[in-house]
């Protein structure tokens, strides 16, 4: 087990290393890359040279890469835009994104489990049909459009139905209420959660839709297996057959699918944040994109890739917990 983890970590590290080189080359070689910063028409020759010197842009590419990595790991890689260390910039925004991300992931997984299981148990029931229809629509909607529709629904049409505990209209934009500085800590938490409700729904819909469909078909596949018939032949009630025998087997491929969608989930979070005006990583990304802030952009991509790889590894380990046939040797 320990050996397996070490091997997988080494593989992941190697992959991320190669990916960092590829992304670095991609970003620094393409027209419009960091070099373009130097061709700002407002700069004179001396200023350009100073800028190139400052960011090391006049050095050969391999050296630039090495110095990028060096600075990144030493924590003193600075943003072109603000001059602050990149890691600080990311650290400032990360909590907002993590909150949305974690909330949405938990919400999506739980809802997908519930819907998938109910649809499979009550195949061809009204619930099943309703879940199917919602799923088809959820999968066919771009996340930003879902977000727009939710804003319109809660901000315009249902304005009078949904209000916060303090009686103000349900928040459809931003991360906190204007007068949040007067709130008690408890009120602050409630306020934050209220602001995250719609973004969470917007981000989750697509994934609830596709995961619940996947679990449904995986469940229906599983209940046809011989061991489920064996369980029924033992005289177990259909509930026990379903939950003790079928569900656990159906969860094994489900975990894989959730893990595969992880990168998509991260991308969706960036989109959702932007539409709802949350000050998270998404905002940092778009700001940096506007300012051609390459150190931040590259670091963000690498950070996202690292997270995805890490969670895939986690999913692999979970896979082993669920399926005793997997051996880590």
């Amino acid at each position: 087990m320990g050996r397996y983890i070490i091997r997988r970590l080494a593989q992941a590290a190697l992959m991320l290393f190669l990916l960092s080189i590829a992304l670095f080359l991609l970003l620094y070689l393409i027209p419009g890359g960091p070099q373009a910063v130097l061709f700002n028409p407002r700069l004179d020759g001396a200023a350009r040279a100073a800028l190139a010197e400052k960011y090391g842009l006049n050095q050969p590419l391999p050296l630039q890469y090495v110095s990028y990595m060096q600075h990144l790991f030493q924590g003193n890689l600075d943003s072109f835009n603000t001059g602050r260390p990149v890691l600080l910039e990311i650290g400032d925004r990360l909590p907002y994104t993590l909150q949305l991300f974690a909330l949405s992931l938990i919400f999506a997984v739980i809802l997908a489990l519930l819907l998938g299981v109910i649809s499979a148990i009550r195949q061809y029931s009204i619930t099943d049909y309703a879940a199917t229809i919602v799923a088809y629509f959820g999968i066919a909607m771009p996340i930003f459009f879902t977000a727009l529709v939710l804003q319109y629904l809660f901000g315009v049409i249902l304005q009078s139905f949904f209000v916060t505990v303090t009686g103000s209209p349900w928040p459809v934009f931003g991360i906190s209420s204007p007068n949040a500085d007067t709130y008690t800590p408890l009120q602050l938490i409630a306020d934050r959660l209220q602001h995250l409700v719609l973004p969470t729904i917007a981000l989750s819909l697509l994934f609830v839709a596709s995961w619940s469909r996947y679990l449904r078909s995986s469940m229906l596949d599983t209940v046809k297996q011989d061991y489920v018939r064996t369980a029924r032949a033992k005289g177990l009630s259909s509930r026990v057959v379903f939950f003790r025998h079928a569900l656990r087997n159906a969860l094994i491929p489900f975990v894989t699918v959730v893990a595969i969608d992880f990168a998509g989930f991260a991308g969706g979070a960036v989109i959702t944040e932007t539409v709802f005006g949350l000050p998270g990583i998404g905002k940092l990304f778009f700001d940096s994109l506007g300012a051609r802030d390459y150190p931040v952009l590259l670091t963000l991509l690498l950070f996202a890739a690292t997270m995805v790889v890490f969670f895939n590894l986690l999913a692999d380990l979970l896979y082993g917990v669920l399926d005793p046939r997997i051996s880590y040797s």
Binding site: Q225, D226, Y227, R229, T230, A231, R232, A233, K234, G235, L236, S237, R244, H245, R248, N249, I252, L322, D323, P324, R325
Partner: protein, 354 residues
């Protein structure tokens, strides 16, 4: 011996888009307490559906028991309430399936798959049940039971898994054990061991047994009586020796020809019955075997009654296959008698123009 199970005019069909398939078409038989009965037939003859109908384990829909009764200890299982049916399943009637590889839950420990029935039917606590598991595994001949019961199915060989399946089935000391092709998926050497185990356990526990197989060789040493099924009907039923020594239905003759024999010449082909079982969506009128039957006569256009041909011996055939004239006629149609036994013939059907 008192009667344990009576199946009366059982009809099970599958609904498909193209129409209903009559998988079991009105069969009747009884099983006494402690008796072992073999149900023999090709795949698609309805033998497995019969077993699954008794326990009501068929997926419904598309399957449906349309007629008949299954009387178990004078209780009709066909319209028993599902909750009561569950008490019978695994408690009074247990079933062993064909493929031990896929019939055990891959993500559950062996002991948990056994304690499940013990807790459910015998009301044991988890601790008591686990204590019982060891002796059960030892009873079915699994060595090192104490350690292996904590393992998972994939750590067991096919034969060992079938032993585990048997342990699950006998755990509640059932009145009736149904084994559906229990040895088909196993190596030949293992097959004999499993059959021997089943025969021994049945005697020790005084359990009735239904042994379902496509291979007459499997039932030979184990069962008291044999039912030969074809296309959802019972073609012939008789005590086991009678079936071997004095088969009366042409289909049984064909099956006997298909049994690999130790005395067969080296390299001689394994005999099969030419033709294939009828399409149950559009079964032929009358006797379903007639398109393949070398003994066919005009009368076969109507389904023959269950004719008594001997003591406890019934055959659903219009033709007396012991009659030399009939044999002569069949030989012209490609029937090759293999061994004259006790006045009748086991035979091979050549792939001629039968």
């Amino acid at each position: 011996m008192p009667k344990l199970l009576e199946v009366r005019d059982l009809k099970t069909q599958f609904r498909t888009r193209e129409g209903p398939i009559q998988a079991v078409n009105g069969i009747s038989f009884t099983i006494d307490e402690g008796e072992a009965v073999g149900i023999v037939g090709e795949s698609g003859s309805g033998k497995s559906v019969t077993a699954l109908s008794i326990l009501r384990l068929l997926p419904m829909p598309p399957a449906q028991i349309v007629d008949g009764a299954v009387l178990f200890q004078d209780q009709d299982l066909v319209d028993l309430h599902e909750a009561e049916m569950r008490r019978i399943r695994g408690g009074k009637i247990s079933m062993i399936f064909q493929d031990p590889i896929s019939s055990l839950n891959p993500v559950m420990r062996i002991q948990d798959q056994i304690t499940e029935t013990l807790q459910l039917h015998l009301g044991l606590s988890k601790v008591e049940a686990i204590a019982r598991v060891r002796s059960l595994l030892e009873a079915v001949g699994i060595p090192d039971a104490e350690r292996r019961m904590r393992g998972y199915p994939h750590q067991f060989s096919g034969g060992m898994r079938q032993r585990v399946m048997i342990a699950i089935a006998i755990a509640t000391n059932p009145k009736l054990l149904i084994a559906d092709e229990p040895t088909t998926a196993l190596d030949v050497t293992i097959q004999a061991q499993i059959l021997e185990l089943l025969a021994r356990l049945r005697r020790d526990l005084n359990t009735s047994l239904i042994l379902i197989t496509h291979d007459l060789g499997v039932v030979a040493g184990v069962t008291d009586r044999i039912l030969v099924m074809y296309a959802g009907h019972i073609a012939e039923r008789a005590p086991t020796e009678e079936i071997f020594d004095n088969p009366r239905h042409p289909y049984t003759l064909g099956l006997l020809g298909a049994v690999p024999r130790l005395d067969a010449e080296q390299g001689s082909d394994l005999v099969t019955i030419p033709g294939s079982p009828p399409d149950l969506l559009h079964p032929p009128a009358g006797c379903p075997f007639q398109p393949r039957c070398p003994f066919k006569i005009d009368k076969c256009a109507t389904y023959p009654p269950d004719l008594k041909v001997g003591r406890d011996h019934y055959s659903a055939c219009w033709v007396d296959v012991t009659n030399p004239k009939e044999q002569q006629r069949a030989m012209q149609k490609g029937f090759i008698p293999l061994r004259p036994v006790g006045g009748t013939l086991a035979g091979e059907f050549s792939a001629g123009d039968a």
